[in-house]
């Protein structure tokens, strides 16, 4: 990642050989290897197809695309035969043979296809239906018994399969094998009995939903959308996924103000045509219980209030605490909303205490994000695809940024070497044919410094990329070590957060000591630029860097302690008198208990939320805000790419965070800041890139892993993609495809602690314990891994420990 533009990479691309063939009497020139069906598309001739998909290898399974090729005895499948130089092709438009062949295939496909279009979810958007209507025979000549299978079977708890409807195009099985790498479904049997099926295991792939979308018939459907509406009911709006920093383009389909389904959008630069099941199926949370009106606390109880009343109370409380307020924005905001918070904190509240990270963080990370990440742009998906080698550090792409995983897998299939620093070779790494560089949590910096020569040499090739995950925040010295490695190898690098809003919030200045666009708070020029943009005097900006979330919590506890010591008579004035909290989930924060007691003891708490939460339960004023479908804005991907999206379902009664903050400014008698997305975007755009000096990250010495004693192990943990996240609530079928929570330890560690294969393991700290079945894994000694936030395994809450900490390990009760 760098702030300067990349050197042109196109200079050494090999020249593509072009060939010229004739389709329907017209010459067409295409790159060598282009299939006839693609070449025909280029000149506007559509050949019917079911199995053909531009992102999957050709298979010629459905035979719907037969065309006549001069010199070949029989019609050829145009999806699997490349156009040759001087080849003469005739499609159904000019060739009787091709037309008859296609119609024959169509009749064959329909022989066994049931006539249940009225109850089929695909009805109305079905390629087979469309083709049957346009070229099929009006009357069937088939009088026999159609092939019948028992009605839908669950290939996973979310995906249903109607085998009768299948035309054996193998799109789903090819997707599972070639794209996702989860070949849990395959074509079974032969002849008329050929059917898609699973083996022993269900089709629990994180990408299983894509098979529904690419199925050219209604054979694959989802439990979530099944029978809920028909295509002509739906209003489709393009949007961006809010679940992670991959930034998938998506399409949201809604009916009567209810989101019915979400599908992957088509963006070749980002998600190609795929998305993960979380993005596709995890939307019912949008329609769960919402905060309908503002709430204010009266006699210890929250009660409903009007907007003017709630805004008045909130504005008075915040104005009284000017300069003594902290702002916690969470990582889920759009870039525009995050910018509104960054501005409101500095102008409206006179504070620099603002932190977007509702997760484990460190001061080292703050410096790194401010100095290196904010406002920068780094390698993009396409560069991952062409990179000769990619190193993953503190990042598990399949779980934490699934589209990176898909790209890396595509790249690995074409020869990219993937290296991963982690305690064991995860399923995802194996599917990318990657190599593990064994690394115990806490040891990342040392490992980056001492990277073996082979890996370092691979990373020294031009175009190699290092991806650093957000979990690096718990690895002392990791950021400095990565910078050293970048200097040593010359590799490109990028920092990959998990949440969709983190990158945008960093660019917008939601970190202590960081103004929008990567400008340091302490830089005089930067202060002047920002002050003139915001219409204030530079001296009005906070003078010194403020508190992070952890420092805020510590300060509130210190205040509470000081207040209790001061006694009741003295007038005690706390250092922090108010908190303004946006979408923060306490369970994501290390020491959630301390965070919650801090929320309890802070004198004044304002919460801007969409749904009731543990924060709103403790707030003095709750102001409801819009969910992602009710507002427009932009998320910023890990690449630094802006992904703007429009409003899906406009709701006149719901306000964005930016609008609520502007209203608060009004009630505080301040100049009204911009509140509409376009205005906020323009203001941020006018600011431009920062060319001056930046925060320089301190050179933190590399940390090393803790040495566990006997009966102890170093904790390793990360989140599964599908876990207990609040944005996955309300969708039990998706939850059914979660990976089961297990404890992973090596066989030697197990033996040393009296654990046998198949037994349960109890992992404990002074805070609590988690007991789970063990899965013996080839991994580092004296390391124990368990999922961070899965059912029965909420590490932060139950253990109160972070990856890298030492935990006790023993055989659990059976």
């Amino acid at each position: 990642m760098s702030t300067t533009s990349h050197e042109a990479t196109g200079s050494d691309t090999p020249t593509v050989k072009m060939i010229t063939g004739t389709i329907d009497g017209t010459d067409v020139t295409v790159p060598e290897g282009t299939m006839i069906i693609r070449a025909a598309e280029l000149m506007g001739v559509e050949v019917p197809r079911f199995c053909d998909h531009p992102l999957l290898d050709p298979v010629a399974a459905c035979r719907a695309c037969l065309v006549e090729v001069e010199g070949m005895p029989k019609p050829q499948p145009s999806c699997a035969v490349p156009l040759g130089d001087g080849m003469t092709v005739q499609t159904q438009l000019t060739s009787e043979v091709a037309d008859t062949a296609q119609k024959g295939v169509m009749e064959f496909l329909l022989i066994n296809h049931p006539l249940d279009c009225p109850v089929c979810d695909k009805g109305g958007e079905c390629p087979l239906q469309n083709q049957a209507m346009s070229v099929g025979r009006p009357e069937s000549r088939f009088t026999g018994q159609k092939r019948e299978f028992p009605k839908p079977i669950n290939v996973s708890s979310e995906i249903l399969l109607d085998r009768e409807r299948c035309v054996s195009c193998a799109r789903c099985t090819r997707f599972a094998e070639q794209i996702a790498g989860d070949p849990f479904i395959a074509l079974l049997e032969r002849g008329a009995q050929q059917q898609v099926g699973t083996g022993e295991e269900p089709f629990d792939s994180y990408f299983s939903g894509n098979t529904i979308q690419i199925c050219p018939v209604g054979a694959l459907t989802s439990e979530e959308y099944r029978f809920r509406s028909r295509p002509f009911d739906l209003v489709s709006v393009p949007t961006t996924c809010e679940h992670c920093a991959s930034g998938c383009s998506m399409r949201t389909d809604y009916r009567h103000e209810n989101v019915m389904r979400r599908q992957s959008g088509d963006d070749p630069e980002v998600n190609e045509e795929w998305n993960c099941d979380k993005g596709r199926f995890a939307f019912p949370y949008l329609q769960l219980e919402r905060l309908a009106t503002p709430l204010v606390r009266e006699n210890g109880q929250l009660r409903r209030a009007s907007w003017p009343e709630a805004l008045r109370i909130a504005a008075d409380g915040l104005a009284a605490a000017r300069g003594r307020t902290s702002v916690l924005t969470g990582g889920r905001l759009t870039m525009e909303d995050a910018y509104a918070y960054a501005r409101f904190a500095r102008v409206g509240l006179g504070t620099d205490d603002i932190d977007l990270r509702a997760r484990a963080a460190s001061d080292e990370e703050t410096d790194f994000l401010s100095g290196e990440v904010a406002g920068s742009c780094g390698p993009v998906y396409r560069e991952l695809e062409s990179a000769p080698a990619v190193l993953l550090a503190a990042l598990e792409p399949e779980e934490e940024s699934p589209i990176i995983y898909l790209r890396l897998r595509k790249a690995a299939r074409a020869g990219t070497k993937v290296f991963s620093l982690g305690p064991f070779a995860s399923q995802g790494l194996e599917k990318m044919a990657g190599s593990l560089v064994e690394c115990v949590p806490g040891d990342l910096a040392t490992q980056l410094d001492q990277l073996d020569d082979e890996t370092a040499a691979a990373l020294s090739q031009p175009g190699a990329v290092i991806l650093l995950g957000e979990r690096a925040a718990t690895e002392p010295g990791a950021f400095a070590a990565m910078s050293r490695l970048v200097q040593r190898t010359g590799a490109e690098w990028a920092w990959v957060p998990r949440r969709a809003g983190e990158r945008g919030a960093i660019d917008a200045g939601c970190l202590p000591g960081l103004l929008p666009g990567g400008r340091p708070l302490t830089d005089e020029t930067a202060r002047q630029e920002i002050a003139s943009l915001w219409g204030i005097d530079p001296d009005e900006l906070p003078a010194t860097a403020g508190r992070s979330l952890a420092a805020t919590v510590a300060q509130i506890h210190a205040d509470a302690k000081a207040a209790s010591e001061a006694g009741e008579e003295e007038e005690f004035s706390p250092e922090l008198a108010a908190l303004l909290v946006a979408g923060v989930e306490p369970d994501d924060i290390p020491n959630a208990d301390q965070f919650l007691t801090a929320l309890d003891s802070v004198p004044f708490l304002v919460s801007l939320e969409t749904r009731p939460s543990e924060v709103t339960a403790r707030a003095d004023v709750v102001l409801p805000v819009a969910v992602v479908t009710e507002k427009s804005g932009a998320f910023v991907t890990w690449e630094g790419r802006r992904r703007p999206f429009g409003t899906v379902m406009p709701q006149p009664t719901s306000f964005t965070d930016a609008v609520v903050l502007a209203l608060l400014s009004d009630y505080m008698d301040l100049a009204t800041p911009p509140r509409e997305v376009d205005d906020l975007r323009t203001e941020l755009g006018n600011l431009g890139a920062w060319q001056g000096s930046r925060v320089s990250p301190a050179d933190v010495p590399a940390g090393s892993a803790q040495q566990p004693g006997s009966g102890e192990a170093v904790l390793a943990s990360w989140r599964y993609l599908l876990d207990l996240g609040t944005m996955q609530e309300g969708e039990p079928h998706l939850a059914g495809t979660r990976k089961p929570a297990v404890v992973r330890i090596s066989a030697a560690t197990a033996a040393a602690n009296g654990v046998e294969a198949g037994s349960r393991v109890r992992v404990s700290t002074d805070t609590g314990a988690i007991t789970l079945p063990v899965e013996l894994t080839e991994m580092a000694e004296n390391v124990v891994w368990l999922p961070l936030n899965s059912p029965d395994s909420q590490v932060l809450v139950s253990l109160g420990a972070l990856p890298g900490d030492t935990v006790r390990l023993e055989r659990g009760d059976v």
Partner: protein
């Protein structure tokens, strides 16, 4: 024929009409005397299978065909404990807005299961807009003696195909028992 004076010719029309057949229909007093034509397009009816299960499968083809956008349907799954129609899918919500309906009958042509037909009921006037949006309960055909009201199981050992082929003729004792048990429970709950 010599022309009558204009006044007399007018009165002649009046006088001769007295002896012609009267066209006036005394509605509503004598409405039974004038039934609608057999193919008259009146209020819709959602039909039932002979055992009382609903024929509607919630496919929305009627709504799709409707040129006036008068029909709203939402389908749903027949779950294991609540079956409304043979097969997998039934119409959970079914509304026809008679302020919009133009009685063209395209919905009837579109219906793949003959669930939707039209009756001879033309007395649809009412005094509020809400009352003219007919819900599923308003549109479902009456239960005959052979039927019991859905939800209930299909006739044991039959498939949806048997229903469409007309092999089901009446509710079985099992179905009657099931529905009776349910209604007992419901009335118990009300009490």
């Amino acid at each position: 024929m010599a022309e009558l004076p204009p006044a007399l010719s007018g009165f002649w029309v009046t006088f001769s009409t007295m002896f012609k057949k009267v066209n006036t229909e005394q509605y509503p007093e004598e409405k039974d005397k004038y039934p609608p034509e057999p193919r008259f397009h009146g209020r819709h009816q959602l039909n039932r299978h002979p055992d009382g299960l609903e024929k509607c499968i919630g496919c929305e083809l009627c709504a799709w065909a409707c040129p006036a956008d008068a029909i709203l349907v939402q389908g749903a799954d027949n779950s294991t404990d609540q079956r409304f129609s043979p097969g997998e899918r039934y119409g959970r919500v079914y509304q026809i807005n008679y302020l919009r309906c133009i009685f063209c009958g395209l919905c009837i042509e579109a219906c793949p299961t003959r669930a939707l037909t039209m009756t001879h009921d033309y007395e649809l006037a009412d005094n509020s807009r809400e009352k003219l949006i007919y819900e599923k309960e308003d549109l479902l055909g009456p239960l005959t003696q052979n039927m019991v009201s859905a939800p209930h199981e299909m006739v044991p050992g039959t498939t949806e195909k048997d229903y469409y082929e007309g092999k089901i003729t009446e509710a079985t004792p099992e179905q009657r028992a099931e529905v009776a048990a349910r209604t007992d429970e419901e009335s118990e709950a009300v009490r």
